[in-house]
């Protein structure tokens, strides 16, 4: 057969309840943290922190609630492809939208810094 089992055993991987509870508590804590941090002045870093926490939460959900930690390479490739393509879309449209004010001859790489920082 060409098909291979994605997970071991006939019933798939059973995750212990304790793991679920730990993940759940971390997610709740993450939400509290991200809301709390928003009330502290970190300047541009506010967004960076908020996004980092969001990504961490997403990874937790994907790995444990969605069982990707126990899944095959194919599943992971599929997920990564989704984010990679989203990345293509954002990067290349920004390559236009954020460089329109550039002169024909760029004024040097120092232009990039304020440009990238505008994203946050």
């Amino acid at each position: 057969m060409s098909n291979h089992s994605e997970q071991s055993g006939p019933v798939g991987h059973v995750v212990p309840v304790s793991t679920y509870i730990i993940v759940f508590i971390s997610l709740m804590a993450g939400t509290a943290l991200t809301t709390g941090v928003a009330y502290i002045d970190l300047g541009r870093w506010n967004t960076v922190v908020a996004l980092t926490i969001a990504v961490t939460k997403m990874v937790l959900v994907v790995l444990f609630f969605m069982h990707v930690k126990y899944a095959t390479g194919l599943t992971r490739v599929v997920i990564l492809a989704g984010f990679f393509w989203l990345g293509i879309m954002i990067t290349l449209s920004c390559s236009d939208e954020l460089t329109r004010t550039w002169e024909i001859v760029p004024q040097g790489w120092n232009m990039i810094v304020p440009l990238v920082s505008r994203l946050f």
Partner: protein, 330 residues
């Protein structure tokens, strides 16, 4: 018999005249574009002929002789695969370098260009010369002088296209785009709208008249007398009370506009932008989004009060403000 042949040639010639294969090439960049075009045509013809003839040759040589025959199995030499991967890649690199450098070179207007302003709207072209004259669907320019067009649209996206000059650019609402050209011969050339813009898109066309400098001077002088664009802009400037803030005597604190055009300007965000048409327009329509360090955002928006044409005149005026003195001299 001769006569018959002659008339045959004549009608062929007439056909050829009716059916040219190349548009007139009437600007300084036209020939450079045509050369690239010819090279691309050469490549296309070469590969098409190559593929077609190989196919025909194989078709004849290896045609099936008996119904039960099967092909002689060949293996795939790696070297061959690499050859026909690498050669097209090299050709592509060459084409990219050629076409991009040409594009960048062709796109940069000489500093000495005279500037003409264009507004596209459904379905006509409004043009205004800095000296003041306005035109609709017609553009008069002198031969041999670089001309820069600064263009915007009042409604949808249009596209300003002069085939004989090989220039084209979309004209967008809310933005300025520009092209430039330097005509090399006098004559009359097509002007097209090349971006679909609604019902009469195909009638949004006109003519470009390239004239000798003397004819052009006569044309400029003729017609009804008009103020220059900068002068019209100056009137608007006082009419809308810009000077109430933007002048040294004014009570409120606003930056001086003298000599700012074309200079880099530091924004509050830390970014540096060149003061160009777009920035001036943005400052007038969306003053909130142009934050200068050391200034309060007190400038009101003029959206809805100043139209695109007046905006261009104001810009022409701001551009004309060479130095501090000129402004104070008023």
């Amino acid at each position: 018999m001769m006569g018959f042949l002659q008339s045959g040639f004549d009608s062929l010639a007439a056909m050829a005249a009716m059916m040219p294969l190349q548009p007139p090439a009437a600007s300084t960049i036209a020939n450079s574009v045509d050369q690239l075009y010819l090279m691309l045509s050469g490549i296309t013809i070469f590969f098409s002929v190559l593929i077609f003839s190989i196919i025909f040759y194989f078709m004849l040589k290896y045609r099936r002789k008996s119904p039960n025959e099967s092909g002689t199995q060949t293996h795939t030499p790696m070297s061959l695969e690499l050859t026909w991967t690498i050669i097209p890649s090299l050709i592509c690199v060459g084409l990219f370098v050629w076409s991009s450098s040409l594009y960048v070179r062709n796109g940069r207007p000489p500093a000495s260009s005279t500037e003409i302003f264009v507004i596209g709207k459904q379905w006509m072209w409004h043009l205004q010369h800095p000296e003041g004259p306005r035109e609709i669907n017609e553009l008069h320019v002198p031969v041999g002088v670089p001309v820069k067009l600064t263009m915007t649209s009042q409604d949808v996206i249009h596209d300003f296209y002069i085939p004989a000059f090989r220039v084209k650019k979309d004209v967008l609402p809310g933005r300025y785009s520009s092209i430039w050209f330097q005509p090399t011969e006098t004559g009359t050339f097509h002007l097209f709208c090349a971006q679909y813009c609604g019902t009469n898109h195909s009638e949004m066309i006109g003519w470009v008249y390239v004239m000798s400098p003397t004819d052009y001077a006569v044309w400029l002088a003729g017609g009804e007398k008009t103020e220059s664009m900068a002068a019209q802009g100056e009137r608007l400037y006082s009419q809308f009370g810009c000077g109430n803030c933007h002048s040294p005597e004014a009570g409120s604190h606003a930056p001086s506009l003298a000599g700012i055009y074309g200079k880099p300007q530091k924004m509050q965000s830390g970014e540096t932008r060149i003061v160009d048409e777009a920035l001036i327009r943005q400052a007038i329509y969306f003053p909130n989004s142009v934050h200068l360090p050391n200034y309060q955002s007190i400038m009101p928006t003029y959206q809805g009060q100043i139209d695109e044409e007046q905006m261009l005149q104001l810009i022409a005026y701001v551009k004309s403000l060479g130095s501090e003195e000129r402004m104070n001299g008023k």
